[in-house]
Every structure is written in structure tokens, then in C-alpha cells.
Symmetry: C2
Amino acid sequence: MNGLSYYTAYLENEISSLKLADEPHNLFDPLRYFLSLGGKRMRPILTLLSSEIFNTPKEESVCAALSLELFHNFSLIHDDIMDEAPVRRGKPTVHQKWNPSVAILSGDALYIAAYQQLANYSDQRLPLLLQRFNETAIEVCQGQQMDMDFESLDTVSEAEYIEMIRLKTSVLLGCALEFGAIVANQEEEIRKNLYEFGVSLGIAFQIQDDFLDLYGDPELFGKQVGGDVLSNKKTLLFLKAMQTGDKRLGKLIQMDADAQKVVYAQNLFEELGAKTATLEAMKSYYDQAMENLKQLEEKGLETGTLHALAQFLINRKL
Amino acid sequence: MNGLSYYTAYLENEISSLKLADEPHNLFDPLRYFLSLGGKRMRPILTLLSSEIFNTPKEESVCAALSLELFHNFSLIHDDIMDEAPVRRGKPTVHQKWNPSVAILSGDALYIAAYQQLANYSDQRLPLLLQRFNETAIEVCQGQQMDMDFESLDTVSEAEYIEMIRLKTSVLLGCALEFGAIVANQEEEIRKNLYEFGVSLGIAFQIQDDFLDLYGDPELFGKQVGGDVLSNKKTLLFLKAMQTGDKRLGKLIQMDADAQKVVYAQNLFEELGAKTATLEAMKSYYDQAMENLKQLEEKGLETGTLHALAQFLINRKL
């Protein structure tokens, strides 16, 4: 059983030695730049961990793993344009460092590079890999569009919010785990269990991310606290608070975007029970993920690394 | 042998009955809108004509044909954002009718839909279809980036210009013809001949397009004449004129963008021999395409429809 740091180092090396064309420079330099910004490499790690369960060597699953990491980076480059985000991982975004046209086109090229990784599987696994990749990719687009649509809506239901984060974030984690099983030629039921584990864990992780945005330790969280509140983002915390119909929420939305607003939200959401309800929602998706793991164990699979991973991703102290 | 109008009608029907998701509306409505704007459907027609040579029914090659049409439309949606084009086929572009974010994301979704068409080939043809699709797609991106890069350069060589139009336009026509042969399980040499025919014909067609932009009959050409000259675009006509080093070109570039500038360019380019040299370049690529067809004939293939197509695309009166 290989640890996360082992796979991270392996993947960093694979990513930095990816064969991409050189010219035109304005097409390929932005890709190399963006890929070099790092990140947790969570998606490809999931694929490698998943295939390891079936004793499939990492060299056999790495192209499937990379296809999802490249797809993820492509979607970030395009999302950053749409969100007008100036910074990603502490560095200027592509549209900021170059311009939006370069960011659109180099994003497109990165997306093609993802499919080039898939094309390395030229045997009977390819049709299923391609089909699942396409289905997941279109869902990620649907999630991003829902997220953008939510901005201009007065209210969003909790179910709609969960569906948005499921599509935008979680299905890709599920797909990453499923890819490990497809590369290892596993049957449909095992593939589905792994996929569902990834989706549940992904939803729990995203809820945690929203939670930490308001209640996290800025030193540990690595981001400024309260960004979502400052931009009146409809997170689960906010939606849970809205369900109480408390009139102070109207005041919160109108407040100037400063530190006072963040403290006001921290206290108000706690008083209204939204803080606790959000943690409970997170826990219920985490429990669901554990249930999915149990089903895999009942099929005789060794799920120790997936347990460790879930604990690594979800801060159990919350 | 089926005619172009037969295939066009068949394709229009296939495109309008494509299965796309409905929601979110802001993701899928723009796709349906853009696909409904029409166009010559040249790429999918090439695939159907090509597969017809090998007696492969259109129902067998239509998904490969559609994958390229969807890819082409995706690239147009994104190109229109980059070029800040307000109008496409007489209607507002997607970023104009909705906004740039919607245009980026619905373009991405359309690109995924292209790969979904490819995924319908779940047999031994899929690896090669996917590989050739990826190679062509990345080249189209390279061509678009070169085209954008050219805008800020003082000068571009004729070879660089031809390489740009080869990548941006012609390789996709070549790929469309090659796809017909791949679907029909043809050998590599035949595939390559068809590809080269498409590339040569595509370059000739693009040079003709540049030529007609300045010297075409506006009624027949369907566009305002002189658009390239008004925006000081480095077309082959312009580059051929530049090779003479004539000082009046500096004056042309400085002139206000009005009808007088167009007439000045028409006369100047003719006097400098650029008009004739451009027609000769077009003819030489057309001849090359005919040479490619001859090689196919020598292999015993019936190329009547491809001859007819070439004559249809290239106005032999020029």
C-alpha cells in the first residue's frame, strides 16, 4: 500500500514530463504554467488508489488518472475566466497573466490533451472510459452553469444546491475512483460502488469547504475567511439559515463587504442553527461514503487506503 | 451516388434531432440555437461522401460525420468570443445573444457532445478515430492561436500564413474525409490519400475565400467586400503584395476604413501582381488535390463525387 505522498510525487513527475507541443508559445506556455501551479492532485490520486486495490500497477492506470487531472485543470482555467478570478493557488490566473482569448484557447487545448491521455487505452477498455469521461464532463459543465445561474436567483432550494455541488465537484471524484476499476477490468457493481463512494465523499468535502470558508482557521485553511459571505454566495450554510426565515438575513445581505459582515454571519448562522445543520449534512454524506466502502468490503476488497483517504479529506474534528 | 443536397437534408435532420440534455437551459439552449443557424455542413458531408466510396451506408458513418460538425461549431462559438464577432450567419453570436461566460461553457459542452458522437463506435475503429480527432483538434487550436498571434506581428511569411490556414481550416477537412475511410476500415495509404486531398482542397478553398473577400461579387459572395482589407488582415493577397516592398502599402495600412480603401487595395494588389500570384497559389493547391485524387483512382476507387465536390467548392472561373 502506497501513501498519498508517494503518489503525489509520482504524479508531479508525470505531469511535469507530459509531452505537449511547444508552438505556438501562447497556446502551450499557459498550459505548462497552469499545470505547474500544483494543487492536491486529488483526482488522479483517487484513480491510482482505486486501481491499487485491484493490484493494477500505477503505470497501467496513470493515463486514466492524468486525463482527469488535465480535465480538472481545463475546467479551472475556463471557470476562472467566467468567475473573473484574478488569482489561483496564489498566482495570477491565465486570463489575468495573458488575456481571456489565450485562456479560452489554451483551456480548449488542455481539454484535448485530456482526451489524448485516454486514447492511450487502445483496447476494449477505451469505449467505457470514453463514455464515462464524456458523461462526467458534461455533468461538470451542468454544475458550473447551475452555479452561475444561482447568482442571479433570489433563492435556491437545498436540493438544488446539493445537486449543483454533486455535478460541479463530486461526480469527477466518483469518476476518478471508477476509472481505477475500469482500467483493472472490474465488474459493473464494483465500479458503481467506487463511484458512489467518491460522489458521497465529494459532497461531504464540498460542504466542509463551504463550512471552513466561514468557520475555518485562516492559518490552517489557507484562504481568507468569509469570502463566500462577503460575496453573498448561496452556500449550504446560507441556505440553512434562510430556511428559518429570520429577517436579519436581509440585513446581512445588505451589509458592506468587510470583516464586520463576516463576524455577523458567523454569529447569526450559529444562532439560527445553520452551523450545526450544515455539519450534520456533511456527516450524513460522510456516513453514506462509509456505507459505500462497507459494500466494497463485503465483496472482499481491501479498502484501507480509501478509509485513510476519506479521513485525510474530511476533518473529523469538525 | 448521392448528391450534396441529399446529404445536406439528411444531416440537417440528424442535427436537429440530436439528443442533448435540456437543463440547465443556459447551457443547452445556446447549443441548439447555434446548431440551428445552418452553414454548409461541409465537414460531415465530406465524411459521408468519403464513406460512400467504400459502399458504407450513411447510417454507419453519420456519427463520425456529426462529431466533426459539432467540433467545428464548438470552435466557431469560441472563435467568435476571441474575435469579438457580433454576427455569425446573419444572426447574433452566442456571446452576444447571451454573454461570454455562457458562450465559453456551452462551447465546452458542444465539444463534449462531439466526443459523445465518437463514443458510438465501440469497436476496433474507436482508437484510431479518437487519435485522429485529437490530433486534428489540437492543430485547429494551433491554427487559431497563430491567426491571433499574426495580428500583432508586423510581418508574416507566406509559409507561415499557409501553415496557419492549413492548421486552422484544412486539416479538419482532411480529417473529415479520412473519417469516412476509417469507418469503412480502409488501409492507411487510402486514408492518407483522402486526408491529403482534403488538406490541399482546404488550402485552395481558404485562399479563394481570401481572394473573394476583396475581388468577389458581393451579391454572389454573400458578404461585404473588403472586410479583410478594412481590418488590415494579413491575407495571402496582402502578403504577396508585401513581397514587392512597394511603399504604397504603408499608405494603404494607414488609410481610413472606408470604401475608398477597398478600391485602392483592389487596384494596388492587381498592379503589384498580387492578384495573379494569389490565383496561381490557389490553382497549385487545387492541382495538388487533383493529384491526390488521381492516386486514389489508381487504387481502383471511384472518385467522381470528390471531383464534383472539388469543382463545387472551387470556383473554376477564377
